[in-house]
């Protein structure tokens, strides 16, 4: 499938939604395990207690890609993750993560075509406030048609 067709069919359409309850204990353990020492990350009684900025990177949707996304003959490999915190995450709330494909592009080298995908999860609070954007980059090394079975998967 051509990149332009993939973009036309899949970009910017939500393909997953999931709720994430946020517990104080998990926030504290997450923070202390990575070496944060500030009380606003480690003490639930602190008036500004909040999750560390990368906390939403642990949120995973039910799917990595849209249900009908072609497999392209390869397994998506993790190519990195970016987090853009937008507002503090407080204990006791339930957040909602909605995912869509934000970018699709290709690079072609001697070993063939590699397709890069950026799945973006927008994480919102109970009042729909955007609290974080999490981009997960994936790369798929496309197999030649005969190796991949020659049919969309």
């Amino acid at each position: 499938m051509e990149i332009e067709e993939l973009k036309r069919k899949f970009l910017n359409l939500d393909f997953d939604q999931r709720e994430f309850p946020v517990r104080a204990e998990a926030m504290v353990d997450f923070a202390t395990a990575v070496g944060e020492t500030a009380a606003h990350y480690t003490d639930p009684n602190h008036p500004e207690f909040r999750a560390v900025p990368t906390f939403p990177a642990r949120f995973h949707g039910r799917r990595m890609l849209p249900e009908d996304f072609p497999r392209l003959g390869g397994i998506p490999l993790d190519a990195g993750k970016a987090v853009m915190p937008k507002a503090p995450i407080r204990a006791g709330v339930t957040l909602v993560g909605r995912s869509h494909l934000h970018e699709i592009f290709e690079k072609t080298g001697r070993s063939g075509r590699m397709i890069f995908l950026v799945a973006r999860m927008e994480v919102r609070g109970p009042d729909e406030t955007l609290v974080a954007i999490v981009d997960s980059r994936m790369v798929i090394r496309e197999k030649p048609a005969k190796e991949a079975g020659g049919a969309p998967q």
Partner: protein, 136 residues
Amino acid sequence: MTVQRFEDAEFGEELPLFEPDLTLANVRKFARAAEMMAPRFTDHEGARKEGLPGALVPGVMSQAILVAMIHRWAPGAEIEKIDTVFRAPVIADEPHKVSGVVTDLDAAARTAEIDLTITNAAGETRVLGTARVKLG
């Protein structure tokens, strides 16, 4: 010395080296908090059964360790963006070092760009990152 204000930061400044706690017990604690209780993160033997050299430090944990180092350097820094590439596995119970260097300063926005790396005892880069942080 910690950075309290934008004016305290210097271009090319190296952040104080940080040796994170990557003991398996601590990685398990993180995995529990992050709901990532898979054998590859919690048990060396379980990870080896999956063909890995040992229990892995989750990429999300490595990313958060990079942020913790920034906070040790500049306690009031607000992370605007952190981007990480997990180049090779970080193995639990093995020593690693976290380093960072200020690569750009924007006086108008009062932000700093920082290049970040996690290296193992052999000096091999395992995780690369860049962060943009707002300083007070």
